[in-house]
């Protein structure tokens, strides 16, 4: 008796003739083994980067914001570029876990855990930049609305920058809760099979005492559904609000209404590229090709080509509107963006973001792991340059020609950026070693409808005619 059924026309999401126990074994294996040399090397390198980043930040705090290349004209440089870039990357995780849950996309179960982890770490990295951009970072708590001794002077609730504070912190909190509530049952699985005392103790604490009663699972499902419903508009709102940091100003090149949808599409574009980059490595190193199949990679590549094309359309729309507006300042801003001193950044962005994803119209390339890996890195380079182009090439030539400058970062800015890579990969290496990188319970839930062995068993039934099928079920009992 099969309780769930999915057509055999659909590609199996779990290959390799798995049963429930095999799923547990495969996903828990890396956690229960000693880390490999590769892991130690990668982890040490990440810590090194993190250390260099910490030193760069220390230098900036000690000597002041003047150690960065930013100045009166270009007030936002690499810091805000990196902030928007990391936040954008952080969009794929919650999109996969929330929006694809609502759309009942079965393939999300193979990738959602790692993608959500990526989201959380990326948002952590993103948060660093506005905080240290404040300069006097020790006064950073001034952004919080609390009854203070400054006459109870409140922050400006009408400012897009304050909306951002609320949006990013809410996004981080909700993503973390969503992620951890899904992790609890999987930690319980590791706890119950733990062979060492320490592991039993630590995963015992982390699993919150979960035993998997029917009522608990019923609440679990209700919670994931409502959190998905809440996180769906939240994902869209976060990058909308980030785009309002620019769109609500009066700088030519920023002051456009196209920004919210354009930023959201760009965020999903870069986020999916990053998920693909990371998961191609994870599936290879942990030999999880049975759970993260070519079908998963292809599905994400389809999202990349869609959102990449939306981004490309937005670039062209921007140019059209600048010309059509007949506003001299707007037209000149775009003229300089394309042909000015930063022409190389603009054309790099155009090549990486508009041209390169078009390769994914071809099924052969969508299912080519090496090509996908390289292209997703190209996409993320392109998306970094998109933010750089939007921010710096709108600022460097302002309304007063005497203050026009050419902005380049200093080593502290570079170090800070590298440091966030260190933070990201330090967290990701720890995650990959100590956390189940694939949602064990959710995979088991989809196994009987999407596992290749179960699908194969359905083949005789699929090949029956309607009459034969009816006859079969009428006489089965």
């Amino acid at each position: 008796m099969h309780l769930k059924y999915e057509s055999i026309v659909r590609e199996p999401l779990i290959t390799g003739d798995k049963n429930y126990h095999q799923v547990t074994e495969d996903i828990c294996r890396p956690i229960e083994q000693k880390p490999t040399r590769l892991w130690y090397m990668g982890f040490a390198f990440s810590l090194l980067l993190l250390g260099f980043g910490a030193f760069s930040v220390f230098w900036e705090i000690y000597w002041g914001i003047g150690t960065w290349g930013i100045n009166r004209t270009v007030g936002w440089g690499w810091d805000i570029t990196n902030f928007v870039w990391w936040v954008g990357i952080g969009h794929a995780g919650t999109l996969i876990s929330a929006i694809l849950l609502l759309f009942r996309q079965g393939w999300r179960t193979g990738v959602n855990r790692a993608a959500e982890a990526m989201t959380i770490f990326a948002v952590m990295c993103a948060g660093m930049f506005p905080v240290f951009h404040m300069g006097r970072v020790w006064d950073g708590f001034f952004v919080m609305p609390y009854p203070n001794s400054r006459g109870a002077l409140w922050p400006n609730f009408n400012s897009a920058l304050l909306w951002d504070v609320f949006a990013i912190s809410t996004y981080f909190t909700v993503s973390l809760l969503f992620w951890y509530s899904g992790l609890i049952p999987d930690f319980a699985t590791i706890r119950d099979r733990a062979k060492t005392k320490l592991r039993k103790k630590l995963y015992g604490i982390a699993s919150f005492g979960w035993t998997g009663t029917a009522k608990n699972w019923q609440r679990f499902e209700a919670l994931s559904l409502v959190l998905a419903g809440l996180a769906t508009p939240l994902v869209l709102s976060v990058h909308t609000i980030v785009s309002m940091d620019f769109a609500t100003s009066v700088i030519p090149g920023w002051h456009t209404t196209i920004f919210p949808p354009y930023f959201v599409a760009g965020a999903i574009f870069s986020g999916f590229a990053m998920v693909n980059t990371l998961l191609i490595l994870v599936r290879k190193v942990y030999r999880l090709e049975d759970y993260i199949t070519l079908g998963h990679i292809e599905a994400m590549n389809k999202v990349i080509v869609l959102t990449g094309s939306i981004v490309g359309t937005a670039y062209l729309t921007e140019l059209f509107v600048a010309w059509y507006s007949q506003v001299v300042f707007e037209q000149e801003a775009f003229n300089w963006r394309i042909f000015g001193p930063y022409w190389w950044a603009y054309w790099l962005m155009m090549t990486c973001n508009v041209v390169s994803p078009q390769f994914f119209w071809f099924k052969k390339l969508r299912r080519n792991v090496v090509f996908t890996f390289l292209l997703t890195i190209v996409v993320n380079i392109g998306m970094w340059f998109e933010r750089f182009v939007i921010i710096v090439t709108s600022l460097y030539r302002d309304f007063l020609p005497s203050s026009w400058v050419y902005y380049s970062p200093t080593w502290t800015e570079l170090g800070f950026y590298l440091g966030t890579f260190g933070l990201f990969f330090t967290c990701f290496f720890l995650f990959a070693k100590y956390f189940p990188v694939i949602a064990i319970a959710e995979i088991k839930f989809t196994l009987k409808s999407s596992g290749d062995n179960y699908k194969r068993a359905m083949r005789p039934m699929e090949e029956m005619t309607d009459g034969e099928f009816l006859h079969e079920i009428e006489h089965a009992h």
Partner: protein, 192 residues
């Protein structure tokens, strides 16, 4: 909380679990609970569980967030410390929407997760009895509370006829307690 005696039966597939749950309900024995390694759809209906009210809690928390954000910002900008931003009205509702939305989501999510932990009685350090170490791996476990000591053998024999792969009788704490995961026996000695 109390220590009780349970008869348990393990099943290796949800297709054998469902008829077994039905049989246990028909038999009239006191079903303590059913443990599964992943959410099994329809199990709550077969067991006769009510639909959870967690959604309602989420809605109420969300509404609290909306009211907090909107009320707080309106009070500050119209009465506590009104600031003139380029001649715009003090009560500028459209500008309050983003923060109102974010706080709605934040309150709903945090409130719901806390309610979820409270209802499920889960927290870091909480310990509950695990009837079978593979109940979070690949076994589906039904636990029946033995209310009449004389019926123990009868219940086990009954469970063996329901298609189970393993049966057992265990003495266990029915609720949760606070403690380490490897010290259950010491805990039982203390409480008895």
């Amino acid at each position: 909380m109390a220590i009780k005696k349970f008869a348990i039966a393990c099943y290796d597939d949800e297709s054998t679990l469902f008829p077994a749950v039905k049989k246990v309900r028909e038999s009239g024995y006191k079903m303590h609970d059913v443990y599964t390694p992943f959410p099994v759809h329809g199990l709550d209906e077969v067991m006769g569980l009510k639909e959870t009210d967690l959604h309602t809690a989420g809605f109420i928390f969300g509404l609290t967030g909306t009211a907090t954000a909107l009320g707080f910002m309106s009070w500050i900008f119209t009465s506590d410390w009104p600031i003139d931003f380029g001649g715009k009205p003090f009560f500028s509702l459209p500008a309050f929407i983003p923060i109102t939305f974010e706080l709605t989501v934040l309150f709903a999510a945090v409130g719901m997760v806390m309610t979820y932990c409270y209802l499920n009685q889960i927290m870091p350090g909480v310990k509950k009895h695990v009837f079978h170490p593979r109940q979070t791996d690949d076994l589906f476990v039904i636990a029946i509370e033995i209310t009449d000591p004389a019926a123990e053998l009868e219940i086990v024999d009954f469970l063996k006829t329901t298609g189970s792969v393993e049966t057992d009788v265990q003495i266990a704490e029915e609720g949760w307690w606070y403690g380490w995961w490897d010290k259950e026996e010491e805990y039982q000695k203390q409480i008895v």
